[in-house]
Symmetry: C2
Subunit: 365 residues, 2 copies
């Protein structure tokens, strides 16, 4: 699933950052760290898979023996160390880690394994590996941006297909299944999620599709995505069944202006909090401030949510190569909701827009 | 997705086990613990969701505010405490946990949150909550067994449908997509996985489907499952395209006998290691011992792999209500592979077989 990349180079850059932090070893398991550094994804199961990256020695991928045949060697960036059903994998990891004062551990590693490692390596201090992994993973290279662009283009084609679909009289669940079929038909590896939130349900940002029948006049928030050669897509458009009421049309115009203001604020040196503030200011000024109840966006790459976050309090400057969502929303409890979400990249002189489908309110039958 | 259950009773039983272990509080997050105790599944994302279960006070579900509308209150088994985008959720959890000498933490909780909790609650010792959660979760009640039975019956219908499907000339990937369509058509909520491993690929137990074209004479291991009202299905049958070679037919007869021996060993008081040994003995005696490279099975319920494990070294006695897989396999590297997997329940006087499709080698065109 994961395309070839310069895994040895990524590990070398990680070691340089470990050195700056006086870390002796980095231990990575489930989540997107292994795909990034080893082109391999660990099954999120009870058998431990862990990439051991000592600062001064070669990396070793400790895996259950029955997973070993699935591993591509990636030009020798790491060695593979299979463990057998009756071995103690935590002991194997500890031996490869060696004597360490400070170990960094991947942030999604199961607490069960961290507790066992803390017991086995009782002289070692553990900190989150995020300090190293986020610095590398949030700065995408050109090949990564092209994968995200291809994933976004596929979801734009799904939006175009949905413009020709009848929404009225179908359930949210049924429409969610259709969206997932379209995502797969457009070449994704996985259709990870499809939020279909209609009528009053649209006021719940992370609504799960129900058997509610979609009705004339409803707004329908369609927020969906998947993975394309390991990289994530995530886009949202709001549809309306029939003619929008004047109130809905007006609120959506505010939302379009807010989302455009967020995009206009993207450039190297601006911060996540600047982009958030730019979008929020438009919604506040229109009197909907209390109804925009989440941050403006999240980074995206091998994971659907990753650094940088587009949120108040994030004062780290954006750089060319950072990729993230811009997704303001307006939610009126018990009545309706709407959101517009694009994936964008910060470019050397502003913004590179990866999603490009019309950001207007999409009228459907 | 999760049916109603006696969540208050489950929390009370957990508190009794916490009391035996002198634990002051239990902290549960991603994975199947929240579904079991609160009928709610946390999104595995960077915003913390955590059920705080103090030994001597009411349980509190700490959730991101934008998830709160999705939560069913489950008869007041717990309170909901939404946190806002700019709050510190670890601080909120620590306040609800109160002064604690010993905290138990859900085994799949992200290490990032455990490290933050250890820093915030620096006088508290942390241990895995597994000691409590496994004791409850591995003993299914009658309603849970009926859900697992319904999930298994749906996968048996998929096997019956596959008997009429042409395998030859199709890719593994294409057949995997068809299996997942059939699983959804039989009413599952999610088609979680479909291993289609053909010809020499069948010798890799956790093979991922490729573009390999399935050929005449291949064995094809079809291992698939999903979730049905939250409960998992997981079954494997081995197919052969055309007539099996005498060697393949003979090896599959050995495997059928081994799998039957595993089932025959199930009864209250037998151990996971007894069941493993019963199946393994048949394969060893036939000379294939080096080619059965994994344990015989795993528990199943809200998670596809959970306690009890059917493996050498597990000497805990089985009890009525425990549910698990029996899935011996024979794998000849570079040549072929085969596996037969059923989900079964230990009953008061032996075994309750949840999967019932024919365990023979399935001949297809």
């Amino acid at each position: 699933m994961f395309p070839d990349a310069d895994y040895s180079g990524r590990l070398d850059r990680a070691r340089a950052l470990m050195d700056e932090r006086d870390a002796d070893v980095m231990l990575l398991s489930v989540g997107a760290d292994l795909p990034y550094f080893a082109g391999y994804e660990a099954m999120p199961l009870e058998r431990l898979t862990m990439l051991v990256v000592p600062k001064d020695a070669g990396a070793v991928l400790v895996v259950p023996r029955l997973e070993a045949p699935r591993i591509a060697l990636r030009g020798g960036a790491f060695e593979v160390w299979p463990w057998d059903e009756l071995d103690d994998p935590v002991g194997v990891v500890a031996r490869h880690a060696g004597k360490a004062d400070l170990a960094l551990i991947g942030e999604q590693t199961w607490s069960r394994f961290l507790l066992e490692l803390q017991r086995t390596m009782h002289r070692t201090r553990f900190e989150s590996a995020s300090a190293v992994t986020r610095q590398l993973r949030m700065r995408k290279d050109a090949a990564e941006i092209e994968l995200l662009r291809a994933a976004a283009a596929a979801t734009d084609r799904v939006v175009a297909a949905l413009d020709g679909v009848a929404f009225g009289g179908r359930t949210e669940r049924d429409l969610a299944a259709e969206v997932q079929r379209l995502v797969m038909a457009e070449g994704h590896d996985i259709a990870s999620f499809a939020i279909i939130a209609s009528g009053p349900n649209a006021a719940s940002p992370h609504h799960e599709p129900t058997d509610r029948m979609i009705e004339e006049g409803d707004t329908v928030v369609v927020d969906f995505g998947g993975r394309w050669h390991g990289y994530c897509s995530d886009t949202t458009r709001t549809f309306v069944v029939g003619e929008p009421s004047p109130e809905i049309a007006a609120a959506h115009s505010v939302l379009e202006a807010a989302q455009a203001a967020g995009r206009a604020a993207v450039r190297p040196g601006a911060t996540g909090e600047d982009v958030d503030a730019a979008a929020r200011k438009v919604i506040d000024a229109a009197g909907y401030g209390d109804h925009f109840i989440h941050r403006t966006g999240h980074g995206i790459g091998l994971e659907v949510h990753e650094h940088p976050y587009i949120v108040a309090g994030n004062s780290e400057p954006l750089e060319a190569g950072m990729t993230f969502s811009i997704e303001p929303g307006i939610y009126l409890p018990g009545r309706f909701g709407m959101r517009i979400e694009d994936i964008v990249a910060c470019s050397t002189d502003g913004i590179d827009e990866l999603n490009r489908s019309p950001r207007t309110l999409h009228e459907v039958s």
